[in-house]
C-alpha cells in the first residue's frame, strides 16, 4: 500500500513534538486516501526510529554516522533511498528550521509539488486540499498538488500530538550517503540573557507598532513596571536593537504562559503567536481591526497604542 511518510525530526537525540503532530496528520491523510501511515527516521543509530515507532505503525530507519546531525544533502539522499525502495505517495515534514531547509530540496529531488506552511488538510474526492496562511496570517489559501507524489510542511500546532502506545515495526533501509556539502561545526546558544521572562505573571509586549526605541521604552517598559510585570517584544523590536534578545517572544525566542499578556502594536504573526498563545488572558492593542492578533486575544482595543496605553496608565491610577 502507498505510504504517507513522516520525516522524523530530532535535535541532539531528542525527537521533536512536531514529529508527533505529523504522525497524527499522516494517519488522517492515509485514512482519507486509503494509504498507510509511516515514518522515516535518519540517525546514527536506531534510537530515533524506535522512539517514533511508539506513535506510528511502521518506521523506516536509515542508519549512518553521517546522519547524526541534520543536513539537507544527507537527509535528501536518505529520503531518495527510501522513496526508491518503498511505495511512497507523500512526504510530511515539519515547517520548522530543519523542515524549511529540507522540504523544498526533497520536492526537487522527487520531482514533486510542494505545499509549505500548511495548517490544515482535507481529503476531497480523493484529492488532498491543503490550507495555508498567507499575507502574515491575514489571508488563507487552499492549494492542491498536481504531481503523482507530494511534499507538504505543516506549521507547529496544526495537529494535536499523537499519543504514545503502539509498537510500530521498524524496517532498515540502507542508503549510501555521499557528499554532504554543509559541514556541521557545532551548536551555540545565543539568547542567554540576564532576565527570565518565562516566570512573569504579567507581560507587556511591544511590536513594530511602537515605532522606535525611546517610544518602546516610554510606553511598554513603563506599563510593565506599573503592573509589576515584565516587558517583552516581538522579533522586529529585538532585530532593531530596541531591547534585549532575552525578551523576544516567539518561535525563535521564548515561550511564555503568563496570566496576562498585553500585545501592543504586534500583528500576530504565527511565529510570534507560537510563543504566547498559552497565556491565560491576552489583550491586543492594535490600530488595524484586521490584525490576526485579534483572532487569538481575549480582549481587544482597536486604536493607537500611544493613546490607549497612557489612558490605561491613568485608569490604573
Amino acid at each position: 500500500m502507498a505510504r504517507i511518510l513522516v520525516i522524523a525530526e530530532q535535535r541532539q537525540g531528542k525527537l521533536s513534538e512536531s514529529t508527533l503532530e505529523l504522525c497524527k496528520a499522516a494517519k488522517a491523510i492515509a485514512e482519507g486516501l486509503g494509504a498507510a501511515p509511516a515514518a522515516a527516521a535518519f540517525y546514527k543509530d536506531d534510537s530515533i526510529a524506535n522512539e517514533v515507532a511508539k506513535y506510528i505503525p511502521e518506521v523506516i530507519s536509515v542508519v549512518d554516522a553521517k546522519l547524526e546531525n541534520y543536513s539537507s544533502d544527507g537527509f535528501a539522499q536518505a529520503i531518495k533511498a527510501v522513496v526508491d525502495s518503498q511505495d511512497v505517495k507523500g512526504v510530511l515534514i515539519a515547517h520548522s528550521y530543519d523542515g524549511i531547509d529540507l522540504a523544498a530540496k526533497v520536492a526537487m529531488v522527487l520531482g514533486a509539488g510542494i505545499v509549505s506552511n500548511c495548517n490544515k488538510v482535507a481529503v476531497n474526492g480523493g484529492q488532498l486540499v491543503f490550507t495555508r496562511n498567507t499575507y502574515n496570517g491575514k489571508i488563507q489559501e487552499e492549494r492542491s498538488v498536481k504531481t503523482d507524489k507530494f511534499v507538504a510542511t505543516f506549521e507547529k500546532g496544526a495537529f494535536d500530538k499523537e499519543a504514545p502506545g503502539g509498537a510500530g515495526k521498524v524496517t532498515a533501509v540502507s542508503a549510501s550517503i555521499g557528499d554532504i556539502r554543509t559541514k556541521f561545526k557545532g551548536f551555540v546558544e545565543t539568547q542567554a540573557g540576564s532576565v527570565d521572562i518565562t516566570q512573569a505573571k504579567i507581560i507587556v509586549s511591544g511590536g513594530r507598532g511602537t515605532k522606535e526605541k525611546d517610544k518602546y521604552n516610554d510606553v511598554i517598559v513603563n506599563l510593565a513596571k506599573k503592573l509589576g510585570g515584565e516587558y517583552a517584544a516581538s522579533r522586529p523590536v529585538v532585530d532593531a536593537g530596541w531591547t534585549d534578545p532575552a525578551r523576544q517572544v516567539g518561535q525563535s525566542g521564548k515561550t511564555v504562559t503568563p496570566a496576562l499578556y498585553i500585545a501592543c502594536g504586534i500583528s500576530g504573526a504565527i511565529q510570534h503567536v507560537a510563543g504566547m498563545k498559552g497565556s491565560q488572558c491576552i489583550v491586543a492593542i492594535n490600530k488595524d481591526p484586521e490584525a490576526p492578533i485579534f483572532n487569538i486575544a481575549t480582549y481587544g482595543i482597536v486604536g493607537d497604542l500611544f493613546e490607549v496605553i497612557p489612558a490605561m496608565m491613568e485608569a490604573l491610577g
Binding site: 535535535r11 522540504a103 510542494i114 492549494r143 498536481k146 504531481t147 496576562l260 489583550v283 487569538i296 480582549y299
Partner: protein, 260 residues
Amino acid sequence: MKIVVCVKEVPDMESKFKIVDNKIDESQIAFKMNDFDQYAVEAALQLKEKHGGEVIIVSSGPERSQKQVRQAFAMGADWGIQITDPGVDEGDNSVVASALCGAIKSIGDVDLVMTGVQAEDDQAGVTCPMIADMLGMPHCTNVVKLEKTGDKELSLNRELEGGLNEQLAIGLPCVLSIQSGINQPRYPTLPGIMKAKKKRLDVKKASDLGVSAVGADGSKTVFIKRFFPVSEHKAEIIEGDPKTAAKKLVEKLKNEAKVL
C-alpha cells in the same frame, strides 16, 4: 565576489485587503520590498565592501515592482534583472524559482545567491532550496551570521529553535536564505537615490531566459481559493474612545478576568 540577491515586491501588510474573484484587489494596496530581502541586500553589500565584486539584483514581478529593485540600487547594488512576465506571476513557487534561476544563469559565474527567509505574502520559504537544487549548489536557510573564511568558503550560523544556532561551513558557490536581525539594513542616501535611477536594469520575459513552463500549466501545485480566516475565537472588542476603552479594559481585567 559576484553576488546575486533575489528581491521580491510584497504588499505592506497594514494595507486594506479585499479579495475580488479570488485575487487581492491591488487598488487599495501599498507595496514595499519584502523585509527579509532588505537584510539579504545589506549582507551582500557588506560582503562586497569587504571582499570586492558586484551585487546584482534579480526580481520577478509586475512593472510596478521595478521600484523595489531601484530601492536596492539606491542602497548600493550595482545592476539588476527584472523578470516581468504574467506567466511567471501566475505560476507557483517552482515556476518563479526556475525563472529566477534562468536569470542567475544568464549572469554567469555567480559566487553567491541570497534570498530572504520567506516572502511576507506567500510565506512559503521554499525559493532558496529550490534555486540551489536547480543550480546544483548547496544551500543553507535562516542564516543569521555570515563570514567569508576562505577563497571558496563561508562560515555560517543557521538559526534554530529557542535561541540555538548551528555553526557550519559551506563552499562557494552556494545559495543562502537570510534571516532578519543579521544586520541593520542601511537607508538609501540622497546621492544613492540619484545614482539608482541610472543603473542598468535588464527587463526579461521567461522565454528570454530559456524558461518555457509557466503559468498554471507549468506549475506543480494548483491554487484553489483565497479567503479571510474565520476565527472561532474572536477577541471581545472593547469600544469607545481611548480613555473610555482603556478604563473599561482595566475594569474587565480586574473584575472579569481577575488577572490584575
